[in-house]
């Protein structure tokens, strides 16, 4: 099967996530080619055809020209599958390609079973097995689902792409969130608050427990969005990635974006009232309790240890 893998380029760098796309292609025994809009003088190492468009002309974000460039590559390659990472670049561009090709797009693929894709549903509590009914299929792959595989060494065949486009999008640049006073990456213990804390006053329960464990407190996205905790304490895809000796997830259901930021922790304790919460999949210990009752008692007992 001819596959076109879509690599990403941001802030002057080729992102490493296309190595996961390679692993996917290898698992399906496909013949991969690569598409990327990047610095034409520094394309990624890839043993095969690289469809290359110039980022100086087409920008790092411009769905209009990138769509047309990629469609041109799909056409020339006769690709039967177009493979993206399920990332801010991938989920933005993939539907535009799928529509133009009349193709099924299967989002956030975690596995392939007998030719069908498996994707998460209902906040990762369930899985859905999906079959494409179209000639061409577009997939986006969940970050981390396919273990990155370095490209084999070999000569690239560069195929330059150019199109005319009057894009309606003006990409103005990037903004980076202000760093705060806490580097969670250095903490040996992190106690994180999730939606289950219920109200801002309960952040104190988590902070107190963190103190009793001589660690720091963090939070999952909903708590930061509600502005109960500063953004620099957010753990997850859009916040910090941490790997402490002990991670305590309090009232955190375990959305994939959160898990991606903490799954390398050495020991994970979840405190939750829902024993089916997806955090249970990676927790070493799941304490089935209301954190509002459990945390103060645990904190008190730890102070006496």
């Amino acid at each position: 099967m001819n596959m076109l893998l879509v690599a990403e380029y941001r802030q002057g760098k080729v992102l490493g996530n296309f190595h996961e796309l390679l692993a996917f292609a290898a698992q399906l025994q496909g013949q991969p080619s690569l598409f990327i809009v990047c610095d034409v003088n520094a394309p990624p190492a890839f043993p095969g055809r690289v469809y290359l468009a110039d980022v100086a002309t087409y920008k790092e974000y411009d769905p209009s020209s990138h769509q047309k460039l990629l469609l041109e590559a799909v056409r020339r390659e006769g690709a039967e599958m177009v493979v993206f990472a399920h990332s801010s670049y991938g989920w933005d561009l993939a539907p535009r390609i799928a529509l133009a090709l009349g193709a099924a797009q299967i989002s956030e693929v975690t596995a392939v079973v007998d030719g069908d894709c498996v994707v998460p549903a209902c906040n990762s509590k369930l899985r859905r097995r999906v079959k494409s009914l179209s000639h061409t299929t577009v997939v986006t792959l969940q970050s981390g689902a396919f273990s990155a595989q370095a490209p084999e060494v070999g000569p690239s065949t560069i195929i330059p792409l150019e199109i005319d486009d009057a894009t309606p999008y003006t990409f103005q640049g990037y903004e980076t969130a202000a760093a705060g006073g806490v580097d969670l990456g250095k903490a040996a213990v992190i106690v994180s608050a999730g939606r289950g804390i219920g109200k801002p006053e309960n952040v104190a329960l988590v902070a107190e427990l963190a103190k009793a464990l001589k660690g720091e407190y963090g939070a999952s996205r909903p708590v930061v969005d509600a502005q109960w905790v500063e953004h620099y304490r957010q753990v997850g895809t859009t916040g910090q990635t941490v790997a402490p000796k002990l991670y305590m997830a309090c009232g955190i259901s375990g959305a994939i974006q959160h898990l991606a930021g903490m799954k390398k922790s050495e020991f994970v304790v979840a405190v939750n009232t829902d024993k089916d919460a997806p955090i249970g999949e990676i927790a070493d210990v799941m304490v089935l309790a209301d954190l509002k009752q459990f945390l103060p008692v645990l904190t008190e007992k730890l102070r006496m240890v």
Partner: protein, 258 residues
Amino acid sequence: MKILVCMKHVPDMESKFKIAADGRWYDGGDLAWRINEYDEYAVEQAVRLKEQLGNSDITVLSIGPERVKEAMKKALAMGCDRGVHVLDDRPSDRDAMAIATIIAAFARGRNFDCIFTGMQSQDRGSGQVGILVGEMLGLPAVSTIVDFSCNGDNRYTVKRELEGGVRAVVEVRGPALFTCQLGLNTPRYPTLPNIMKAKKKELLTVPVTELAGTGNVQDTVQLFFPEKKGGGLLLEGEIPELADKLIAILKEKTTVLA
């Protein structure tokens, strides 16, 4: 300005899900339903845009069975002006392409200046419908926005959320579509007077057959619970006892209490 907001009715994700008899979706019987979380941000942004510009009209659209009207009433109480309920008893049988086709069929020719959707639904999570609608209507569509401003003159500056705390600043000229990420704003709670007012707002029902187009391009073969991996230990019982047990485990398995 004419504004369209699309919203989906989804189960509370804390629910105990059961697989439906056909094995392809969840059983909707005993679930508590709410507005898809991402769509609440879309509704709120639409209302804020109207508050900024004045002289605007917000239509909220939802596809689903009779029950979705309840959620639409909340959107009306938050400040939408009228509702369009596309009556479809089994929307889960339709894929993202089919759902987007329905929305685009409604929007086409109605000259909306600005369309908001959530960036994805909490149950299906494909993250496709909003962008597909934009593409079908030939409008610029920007996904995953966490900041929105309308500069007058139909120009919009938005910030897309990327990975690792980075945002991309993008400008487009309307008409345009935006898909909303969590944290874009703080969705308001409807006030009692507004809940009362919402009861008098127009809530039109359109049979889905009037708008539906092409069939599916993909098929759900099976919905299932993931296998529980590994030997995570489940602790249940009285609170003080749980705390003692956990401390014993931490002493044994970690070095953090040393």
